[in-house]
Amino acid sequence: MNAQPTQSFVQPAKPPLERHTLSVVVDNEPGVLARVIGLFSGRGYNIDSLTVSETEHAAHVSRITIVTTGQATVIEQIKAQLSRMVPVHTVRDLTAEGGSLERELALVKVVGTGDQRNEALRLAQVFRADVIDANVDHFVFELTGKPAKVDQFIAIMGPLGLVEVCRTGIAAVSRGKRTD
């Protein structure tokens, strides 16, 4: 117990924004994703990245991975609001737990000929991107890695004829043997 009363206002002047990755296990039922997304839009929270898929078919359970940005108090609210939803099993804050693994997959289409085309292929090899489709005037690269690596690859491809990008959003899991 503090001897002095603590600052009791939730919103002091400009607290810093934090970026958190939340891993939410939900019932795989119709409408659950809409309910989760509706919470974010309805209460004005940010979604930077969203990934969702069924992860345990037998248990009928899906995992939603959400990357969000907000003040610490807002992040706390988001977790509390998610946790009280009926179809939500668990909410884990992988950022707060520390040391989580995050990966993203991107499909990147680059159009070009001549030197530009050679340079794109050479850089793709440096980034260990796979060529999954090609013709004499284009490549489609598949790249998996940390979001920063994907960002960097896309930025480099920009001047080399990048025409289309599709990113999966972030999949994340905690290190170690702990599970939900």
């Binding site: 009363p5 009791s8 939730v10 309805g42 939803m85 179809p87």
Partner: protein, 588 residues
């Protein structure tokens, strides 16, 4: 055991019976006809036919609030469902347990823009705790039982079960309620014992304590109110109550400082501002309570008891959060207090009470009475005097009359005050009174109404007549949307844009047209006699009480101001005109 086979429609009725439901409020339509046919062929569930689906929702809310049971509404697809959106949102904001069953077009028609089709689960998702579209008759009974579980467990709230018409006709296996509860939704009801001990230590050591208690005490059940009384009296500390919490602590008790917040008493708000320890019990630091957030109770340490973890640190940071059901936490706190018999700082508390008495002596609910015209505050006071000693339930609409009812009609017991607090739904009170009277046929049920609000759901007078519900609609008729007018005076140079109702009906003739009894009173001297007569009539009544047109609802914390910057009743028009600065103007 043989599996019990029945149709979906029969399952609905069986599930209601198994959940202990006796009353349903509803309105039929194409997509719920099989359920209505099942209602026709049974006698365990009593159905009250409303005149508009919104009325069914508010009636279910009034029923729930006055009994502690779940309110049940039954409506058809499309417009039936969309008309429920307001009551569902109302119930969500005020944490009222409600199960709403909606009909839906047949499963093969869903998504085809069929007649009276709408995306009910999509539309009601943000205004329910949870909702379900039933796609297989064999899931129906499980979902219905889950719906009742979710509506009543944790922080109570509304749920929707959307049942396509073919599912109502189909035959399947009925399963009774599962006593094991729910696989994922298991809210914490018992408070953390270390937090409870820390809270007791803080409360015992307080020099300027206050209890700030809300609707959560009432939702927790009568036991919670009983424990609250015992604990507050044991500590000797002052207590104030939110609009939603009125009745959880007796208004006649000297430790009660009245309601707090925007139209709360001077003593309650100043005590909140100056306290050193605040104990929030089932209250959520709503903006009507806190006033300007960065000036809210700046020097206190705060304890918050709430069943909903998302209520903690939402608007105001608290020092000791205790997540749990109010009745469980209060029982544990009482136990610790009695075991430890902590020493309190008697000298400091005496000084605190002396300060509170000073604030009290300002008499912030004083008003200037008149011989010629009925003051609205006086009307509520006389209504209270006439009903004292009876089993009386009060509902309200939303606006000035609602605040006057809260200020001048004291409550001694929980579940006797039904009002739309969070959403502020004009038109709530009349159908809510229908619901309350259905649950309490012999009690006196009065909707303290405003002339504008009451017109929003006036058609439910017809419901009251059909079902012999002798509700009393006591209209404080000032011929304005009084609260809108007051805010236009406060914020907009007294330019009364569309806040004057220029074509009010003759309420007495309207009453007669509906088959009710009408009264009209405009002289203070006639008021008592007319109220006595109104109470005597065993039929629905519309009571047109003509009151002073331009009275303001005071005291008031102007928006954007702190608890210790109240406008008191003696404020002049000039002070009222300039009470809100530019920063306050943008707040609602």
């Amino acid at each position: 055991m043989e599996p019990r086979m029945m149709t979906g429609a029969e399952m609905v009725l069986q599930a209601l019976v198994d959940q202990g439901v006796t009353d349903v409020f509803g309105y039929p339509g194409g997509a719920v006809l099989p359920i209505y046919d099942a209602i026709f062929q049974q006698e365990k569930i009593f159905h009250t036919l409303v005149r508009h689906e919104q009325g069914a929702g508010h009636a279910a809310e009034g029923y729930a609030r006055s009994t502690g049971k779940v309110g049940v509404a039954l409506v058809t697809s499309g417009p039936g469902a969309t008309n429920m959106v307001t009551p569902l949102t109302d119930a969500l904001l005020d944490s009222i347990p409600m199960v709403c069953i909606t009909g839906q077009v047949a499963t093969h028609l869903i998504g085809s823009d069929a007649f009276q089709e709408c995306d009910t689960v999509g539309i009601t998702r943000p205004c329910t705790k949870n909702n379900w579209l039933v796609k297989d008759v064999n899931d129906l009974s499980r979902i219905l039982h889950e719906a009742f579980y979710v509506a009543t467990h944790g922080r109570p709230g509304p749920v929707v079960v959307d049942i396509p018409k073919d599912i109502q006709f189909a035959t399947g296996v009925y399963t009774p309620p599962d006593p094991r509860g729910h696989k994922t939704y298991q809210p914490q009801v018992k408070g953390d014992s270390a937090a409870i001990r820390a809270a007791i230590e803080l409360i015992a050591g307080a020099r300027r304590p206050i209890f700030y208690t809300g609707g959560g005490v009432i939702n927790s059940g009568p036991e919670a109110s009983k424990l609250l009384r015992e604990f507050v009296r044991l500590t000797g500390h002052p207590i104030t109550t939110t609009l939603m919490g009125l009745g959880s602590y007796p208004a006649s008790d000297p430790q009660w400082l009245g309601m707090l917040g925007m139209h709360g008493t001077y003593e309650a708000n100043n005590a909140m501002h100056d306290c050193d320890v605040m104990v929030a019990v089932g209250a959520r630091f709503d903006d009507r309570i806190t006033g300007r957030l960065n000036a809210f109770s700046p020097n206190s340490r705060k304890i918050q008891i709430d069943i909903d973890p998302s209520s903690i640190n939402k608007n105001v940071r608290v020092d000791i959060p205790i997540i749990g059901d109010v009745k469980n936490v209060l029982a544990d706190m009482l136990h610790v207090w009695k075991a430890e018999k902590p020493k309190t700082d008697k000298a400091a508390l005496k000084q605190w009470w002396a300060q509170i008495d000073k604030w009290r002596s300002r008499n912030s609910l004083a008003y200037r009475n008149s011989r010629d015209v009925i003051m609205p505050q006086y009307a509520v006071e006389r209504l209270y005097e006439a009903t004292k000693g009876r089993e009386t339930f009060i509902t309200t609409e939303v606006g000035q009359h609602q605040m006057w009812a809260a200020q001048y009609f004291p409550f001694e017991e929980p579940n006797h005050w039904m009002t739309s607090g969070g959403l502020g739904t004009m038109g709530y009170g009349l159908p809510a009174a229908v619901g309350v009277q259905t649950a309490h046929p012999d009690a006196l049920v009065i909707d303290i109404a405003g002339d504008a609000s009451v017109l929003m759901t006036m058609q439910e007078m017809s419901t009251a007549v059909q079902h012999d519900l002798p509700i009393k609609i006591f209209i404080l008729n000032n011929q304005h949307m009084g609260m809108v007018r007051q805010w236009q005076q406060l914020l907009h140079g007294n330019r009364l844009s569309h806040s004057y109702t220029e074509a009010l009906p003759d309420f007495v003739k309207l009453a007669e047209a509906y088959g009710c009894v009408g009264f009209e009173v405009s002289k203070p001297g006639d008021l008592d006699g007319a109220i006595a007569e109104m109470i005597k009539v065993n039929r629905p009544v519309l009571f047109d009480c003509r009151v002073a047109a331009l009275a303001n609802c005071l005291p008031m914390i102007p928006s954007g101001k702190a608890h210790n910057e109240m406008l008191l009743p003696e404020a002049t028009d000039a002070e009222i005109d300039s009470a809100i600065d530019d920063a306050g103007k943008v707040m609602v």
